[in-house]
């Protein structure tokens, strides 16, 4: 008899799990049992034997940032004199978009994940202009851009409310907001790893506002630094509560802290969260987040083998083809080379699913020529 037989019964009856159930799941090592339950929930919510992915790329428009998060190896301070600080001009951004559009069939929607540091020189009019011109020039590009952290800062810098800021960016072409910057939604952890970032409540409030304004977003969790299991659990429960309220989250994406070349990594002896931890965290997330439609794999941080195994632990989406990644690459993730679309599709098919290209908001995209 399994030690989590009562939880399994609840899951199978479609009942909501309690915080205590979550605690017990996080302490349960039997991966076949966790995987089985999570996969059942995944098939109930997304019954088609399909794993989706999006054709997209990251564009990190600036690495200038004053926030100095101890887990980050990407940023350069505004006072940087090394010559490594940059802000891309529009020509450089267009060139990157051209490369992306060339990857797809030129017709289907492509996702632009536009993110950067908190650069004190960039106020809202810079973003408005950029977004308007990108969406006019590339009708097939979907702007999945910025993060709560950037939005809160742009608001502050531009002396606007968060609501006004989001509304104006939305009007300028912002399509949806990535869930980045959530890290762990617990103020003790945030105080350690990102003391200058928004608080837990500010993060949640910004997402609430965005959802109210009709913008959808994803949600992430960066675990495996100083967080405890209990703090991860609270993170999940806070997301679940907000999702009950707004229904605005499209997907949940957990990934583990990448320690290399970061002060936090040094402080923690460069310990890296394990593969077991990833699969268990994914499965427990699928079981607790009963109001989220999708879970996304993080092949950039976990590698192709683990990301594929996760397709049987509650994950139904392989994320972005990600032509370019700079942030976790700077922190020494092993898997920075872009994954060829053919390889992504092979991994999905080998796991027993049909790969299907999607939009950022999880609508199917007709793929004319599978690369």
């Amino acid at each position: 008899m399994s030690a989590i037989a009562d939880i399994a019964a609840k899951v199978r009856a479609g009942e909501r799990l309690s915080a205590d159930d979550g605690r017990r799941l996080f302490a349960h090592p039997n991966l076949t049992e966790l995987g089985q339950l999570a996969h059942e929930v995944r098939l109930r919510r997304n019954p088609e034997p399909v794993v989706t992915y999006v054709v997209g790329r990251n564009i990190n428009y600036t690495n200038v940032c004053w926030v100095q998060c101890s887990f980050c190896a990407f940023y350069r301070l505004p006072s940087d004199t090394s010559g490594e600080a940059y802000t891309l001009d529009e020509a450089a951004i267009y060139q990157k978009i051209d490369e992306l559009v060339g990857v797809g069939d030129g017709a289907g929607q492509v996702e632009l994940l536009l993110q950067g540091g908190l650069n004190p020189k960039l106020k809202i009019d810079w973003y408005e202009g950029l977004f308007e011109r990108i969406t006019a020039r590339y009708p097939q590009a979907w702007l999945h851009a910025l993060s709560v952290t950037e939005i809160v800062y742009i608001a502050k810098l531009s002396k606007l409310s968060v609501r006004e800021t989001i509304a104006r960016l939305h009007a300028a072409g912002l399509g949806s907001i990535p869930g980045a910057g959530a890290e762990i939604l617990d103020d003790r952890v945030r105080q350690v790893i990102a003391p200058h970032k928004e608080t837990t409540d500010e993060w949640l409030e910004c997402m609430r506002t965005a959802h109210e304004l009709g913008l959808r977003s994803s949600a992430t969790m960066m675990y495996g630094s100083t967080d405890t299991t209990e703090e991860r659990l609270q993170h999940l429960l806070r997301l679940r509560a907000l999702q009950d309220e707004t229904g605005g989250f499209t997907a949940f994406i957990p990934w583990s802290f990448q320690p290399d070349d970061t002060p936090l990594g040094e402080q923690l002896g460069y310990a890296r969260a394990s593969g077991f931890d990833y699969l268990r965290t994914v499965a427990v997330s699928r079981l607790l987040l009963d109001n989220f439609d999708h879970l996304q794999a993080s092949w950039v941080t976990q590698g192709p083998k683990l990301a594929q195994i996760a397709l049987h632990f509650g994950v139904d989406d392989f994320g972005s083809t990600m032509l370019e990644e700079n942030v976790v690459s700077a922190a020494g993730t092993s898997y920075t080379e872009c994954m060829p679309l053919a390889e992504m599709r092979r991994l999905i098919e080998d796991a027993g699913f049909t790969p299907r290209r999607r939009t950022t908001l999880y609508e199917p995209v007709e793929e004319l020529a599978a690369a």
Binding site: E33, G35, E40, G275, G352
Partner: protein, 369 residues
Amino acid sequence: MFQAAIERAGLSDIAAKVDRGERLTFDDGVRLYESPAIHVVGALANQVRERHNGNVTYWVRNQHINYTNICNKSCLFCSFYAAPRDAERGYVLSVDEVAEKVRAYLDIPITEIHVVGGVNPKLPYAYYLDLCRAIKAVRPRATLKAFTMIEIEQIARAGRRGVAEALEDLRAAGLDMLPGGGAEVFSERVHQELFWAKADSLRWIEIARTAHQLGLRSNATLLYGHVEQTPEKVDHLLRLRELQDETGGIQSFIPLSFHPEQTALDHLPPPTGLQDLREIAVARLMLDNVPHIKSFWIMNTIQVTQTALWYGADDTDGTIQEYEITRDPIHDRRQVLTSAELERLIREAGREPVERDALYRPVVCEAAA
């Protein structure tokens, strides 16, 4: 927990056999390999794993030594070998150099020394015996696990002796047991296609049988993820099971995940994580008479190995110094794990780490040199 899932997967009859401890058939093996229900197959394998080994996961403090990369076999799946005429890449370690490598780790309580190399036709019989003696002289208490069946054949040829006689000589010089490599896939089709110059399956099994009959234990392997087909893998497992029924000499079975990079087969994609898990699980279920299933983390990654502890594996191999045969494809660097890391990863997965020696005896206090 799994009853309904087992029924949905159509594996109720196999599950019933596993419950009763009954032997599985060829067809069962094929169905297990082809089942998409990885957690069901894993849970069945875990049942067998816990029956054999409880909650224990073994690891070993070991050192790998590859005495030569010169090899005349030209196997298409190998990136390690240098052809005998390749003066630039080819190397042979002298007996002194090997002894020096052993000496270099005397401060670590290593209990197992794993020695394999290419089939180098220039090496004389005495070299192999001297190698064993030299290693034993520096580190007498470590178990010397050396020479695949393929190398044993070459050593016997170099000494103009029969296999049994060569094995006796090697044992007298310090050889304790044999590793499991060189088995590849027991299929004449694959043998012809990928490793035609090497001993075939009949010969591999014959040499292993001879070793076992002399009281030398060995491991056994299966190299998967290239051109082999499912029935060939099942056949491979059944032939090992048969040998084991006869001799009882196989200590652990190690499915080896193929690395195509820098081989003649580098157009092939590497095995996926789910395949790695499936190979472990099916092996655990089919090889009901082999005590241990090892997940060799060097080849399938430490993440997959940690996961595999719930899909049939009870052994992770070890700390491994100086492994040369495949390289970390991403960093192109040597791979080592500290004993503390290995123990932490095993414990995190809810298993009880036990340091073993080469013969799976628990190492109680620090092993001496």
